[in-house]
C-alpha cells in the first residue's frame, strides 16, 4: 500500500427524485488498499460503488480516479472493472471466452489474449477450464470466473458488489482469504461493498461505514471495533452492551466516570465521538467481560448479577446477566475452553471489566 490516492470522491451526492441515496460523500482511497463500504441494505453503498464504476452519474460532486476527473466518462472507458453480485457470467460463452471478453475490445493479438486468459484462470485456480460452459459452473467457480474476467483487464481499481453473498458459509470464508491474498499479490486497489461486518473486517485494510446515504466512519477494522464514532456503528459492528454513565471528571485524554453498576472508572476518551454534558454512554463488548462465581480479583470494575439466559454458540457461550440498576441484561461471552457451561439461569454471578475495555460513546443519545 502506498500513500498515493487512487480514488477521490469529492462531495458526492446522488438523488433519485426526492430520495437522497448518497449525500455529501468525501472519501480518499489509497492505491493498493482493500477498502470496504459497509452498511445495511439501502444505505447507499452500492450506489456509491456504481458511481465509481460509471453506471450512475452523481447529482453533484466529483469522482476522480488516478488524478482524472471522471465526469462524462462512461463505464466502458474507465480504468475500473467490476465483479457483480450475480457474477453476470455470460451464459452463451464458455469460461475462456467470458474471461477474454474485455480483452477482445482492446485489439490485442489472439496469442496474447490466450496467454493472459490462461494466466488469469491460473490465478483464480481454474487453470485449464477455458472450454467449460458457463452453465456448467458451480457458484464458487462462477465467482472465480467473474474475478478472472475483471482482473484480466488489469484495472487500476477492482470494484466488488457483494461478491460473496451468493456463496454458502464455508465457501464464503475460504474465498475471503483467497481474495485477500489475490489482492495483496496483485497490489490492485479493491473496493468492496458488503452488508456483512465479518466479511468487511476479515478482508479490509479500511472500512467505511454508511448509514442512510452518509459515510459515518472510515477506519481500520480494529479501530472501528474499539473506537466506534457513535452508538449506531457500535451496535452495527459486533455486539455491544450499552450502559449509561455520568462524567465526573475530564483530564487530558481520560475521563472519570461513574456508572450505576461498575462503580467509578477512569477510561480513555474516544476522539471519534462528541462529548457535551455529563450524561454519557459507555459500551462494553461481551467478550471483554469476565464472569465468575466469586467477585473476581484485579478488575477495575465489578458488579453482581443473576444469569437470566444462556446461549451456547459452540466456540463460546453467551450469558445474559441481569444487574440491578440496568434495564437490559448485560451480555458476557466466554470462550468454550473445556466444553462446559458453567452457569445456569438463576445463578448468582459476578462480572468484571478492565477500564481499558470500556468504550466511551459520548453523549447519551439513547432513551433507555
Amino acid at each position: 500500500m502506498t500513500e498515493k490516492n487512487i480514488i477521490r470522491l469529492q462531495g458526492i451526492e446522488k438523488r433519485f427524485g426526492q430520495f437522497v441515496a448518497v449525500s455529501n460523500l468525501d472519501l480518499d482511497l489509497r492505491e493498493g488498499e482493500f477498502f470496504s463500504l459497509l452498511g445495511p441494505s439501502g444505505c447507499g453503498k452500492t450506489t456509491a460503488l456504481r458511481m465509481i464504476a460509471g453506471f450512475q452519474e452523481p447529482t453533484a460532486g466529483k469522482v476522480i480516479i488516478d488524478g482524472q476527473d471522471m465526469e462524462g466518462i462512461p463505464a466502458n472507458k474507465r480504468p475500473t472493472n467490476m465483479v457483480f453480485q450475480s457474477y453476470a457470467i455470460f451464459p452463451h460463452l464458455n469460461v475462456g471466452n467470458n474471461v477474454a471478453y474485455g480483452l477482445r475490445n482492446r485489439g490485442i493479438s489472439k496469442s496474447e489474449i490466450d496467454t493472459r486468459v490462461s494466466e488469469a484462470l491460473e490465478m483464480v485456480e481454474l487453470g485449464g477450464l477455458q472450454s467449460r460452459g458457463a452453465t456448467e459452473l458451480s457458484g464458487g467457480q462462477r465467482q472465480r470466473v467473474a474475478l478472472a474476467r475483471a482482473l484480466v483487464m488489469r484495472p487500476k481499481v477492482l470494484l466488488l458488489d457483494e461478491p460473496l453473498s451468493a456463496l454458502d458459509k464455508k465457501l464464503r470464508e475460504q474465498m475471503q482469504f483467497e481474495m485477500r491474498h489475490l489482492q495483496q499479490e496483485l497490489g490492485i486497489t479493491f473496493v468492496m461493498v458488503t452488508h456483512d461486518q465479518y466479511e468487511a473486517m476479515t478482508m479490509s485494510d479500511r472500512i467505511g461505514v454508511m448509514f442512510e446515504g452518509r459515510l459515518v466512519q472510515v477506519d481500520a477494522p480494529p479501530t472501528l471495533y474499539a473506537k466506534p464514532c457513535n452508538r449506531e456503528i457500535a451496535s452495527f459492528i459486533g455486539e455491544m452492551n450499552f450502559l449509561p454513565a455520568e462524567l465526573t471528571a475530564e483530564k487530558g485524554d481520560t475521563l472519570t466516570i461513574s456508572t450505576p453498576c461498575f462503580c467509578a472508572m477512569t477510561i480513555e476518551k474516544n476522539p471519534n465521538v462528541e462529548q457535551t454534558g455529563r450524561a454519557i454512554e459507555i459500551g462494553i463488548r461481551p467478550e471483554q467481560l469476565e464472569i465468575s462465581a466469586q467477585e473476581p480479583d484485579g478488575y477495575d470494575g465489578t458488579v453482581q448479577g443473576t444469569v437470566r439466559d444462556v446461549a451456547f454458540y459452540g466456540e463460546n457461550v453467551h450469558y445474559h446477566v441481569q444487574v440491578d440498576g440496568v434495564a437490559r441484561p448485560i451480555s458476557a461471552s466466554v470462550p468454550n475452553y473445556f466444553h462446559t457451561v458453567d452457569y445456569r439461569p438463576g445463578d448468582a454471578v459476578w462480572l468484571g471489566v478492565q477500564s481499558a475495555s470500556v468504550i466511551d460513546l459520548g453523549q447519551n443519545q439513547s432513551n433507555t
Binding site: 453506471f55 462512461p74 450475480s86 453476470a88 483487464m153
Partner: protein
C-alpha cells in the same frame, strides 16, 4: 387427493369439442369421394397430388410466404426493442403504451381491416402485398412484444452492464451479449409472428387487392364444389405447417427462459 369422478370425462369432451371440427379437415382430405359427408368412400392422396400443378395456388403460397417473412421480421425487430425498454426502464406513459401495443389482440379484425383500407388508400398505398405486410406487422406486434418481454424478464440486467464495464460500447454490447442471449426468443417470435400472418384472412382479404394470400385463395376456391377436396388438402397442409411452426416456436421460447444462469 381423489379427483371428483367425471372430471376426466368432462376434460375429454372439452378437448373433443375443441379439436374434432379441426380434425375433420384432414380426414376428408384423404376421402376419394368429392362430397364431404360420411361414409368415407375410399382413401386417396390424389387431392394432394393435384395441388402441385395449380399455378394460382403456388402464386398465393409465394405471396403468403413473402408477407409472412416481412411481417415477422418487422414485428420481431420492433418487438425486440419495445420489450427491452418495457423490461429494463421505467418511464412516463409506460403502462399506457404497453396496453396500446397489446390492443390489436382485441380490436375486431373487420374494424382494423376497414380502417386500414381507408387509411392506406388515403395515403396512396393501393391494396397490395405491401399493404398486407404493414397490416400484418400491426397484428403480429403484440405477439412479438409479449414473447420478447418474457425473454428479457429472465435476462439479468447486469450482463449488459458487465459487457459495458469490460469496454464494449452500446452497439457492441447489444451485438455480443444482448442478441445472443435473447436469440431463442427472437426465433420463437419470428415463428409465431410468421404463423399469425400466414393464417390471417380478414386483413388480407381487404388489403391484398389482386394479389391473394393463401387463406384468401382458399376462400375464393370454396365457392367451387368440384375444387372442395383440393381446398381441404390445402387447408390440412396449412394446419400441419402452423402446428409445426408453433411447436418449434414453443421449444425456442422455453430455451430462452432457460438460457440465463
Amino acid at each position: 387427493m381423489t379427483r371428483p369422478s367425471g372430471l376426466a370425462l368432462y376434460a375429454f369432451l372439452y378437448l373433443v369439442f375443441l379439436y374434432l371440427p379441426v380434425l375433420f379437415l384432414p380426414l376428408f382430405s384423404f376421402n376419394s369421394g368429392t362430397i364431404v359427408a360420411f361414409p368415407i368412400k375410399g382413401w386417396t392422396l390424389e387431392w394432394y397430388r393435384q395441388l402441385g400443378g395449380q399455378e394460382t395456388l403456388i402464386q398465393a403460397l409465394v405471396n403468403s410466404l413473402l408477407v409472412g417473412l416481412v411481417a415477422a421480421l418487422l414485428a420481431t425487430s420492433m418487438g425486440l426493442f419495445a420489450a427491452r425498454a418495457y423490461v429494463r426502464y421505467r418511464f412516463r406513459g409506460k403502462e399506457a403504451s404497453e396496453g396500446l401495443v397489446m390492443l390489436p389482440l382485441v380490436i375486431p379484425g373487420i374494424i382494423v381491416a376497414s380502417s386500414m383500407l381507408v387509411l392506406f388508400i388515403s395515403i396512396g398505398i393501393k391494396p397490395s402485398l405491401t399493404a398486407v405486410m404493414l397490416g400484418h406487422t400491426f397484428l403480429a406486434l403484440p405477439f412479438s412484444v409479449s414473447i420478447m418481454k418474457s425473454a428479457f424478464d429472465d435476462f439479468d440486467a447486469s450482463l449488459e452492464e458487465a459487457a459495458f464495464d469490460l469496454g464494449s460500447g452500446v452497439v457492441e454490447t447489444f451485438r455480443r451479449v444482448t442478441l445472443p442471449i435473447v436469440a431463442p426468443g427472437i426465433v420463437a417470435s419470428l415463428l409465431v409472428t410468421f404463423t399469425v400472418s400466414f393464417d390471417e384472412f380478414v386483413l388480407a382479404f381487404f388489403l391484398s387487392g389482386n394479389q391473394p394470400t393463401l387463406p384468401v385463395y382458399i376462400w375464393s376456391q370454396i365457392r367451387f364444389p368440384a375444387k372442395l377436396p383440393n381446398t381441404l388438402a390445402l387447408g390440412s397442409l396449412l394446419l400441419l405447417a402452423s402446428v409445426a411452426l408453433l411447436v418449434v416456436a414453443e421449444y425456442f421460447r422455453r430455451r430462452s427462459a432457460k438460457s440465463t444462469i
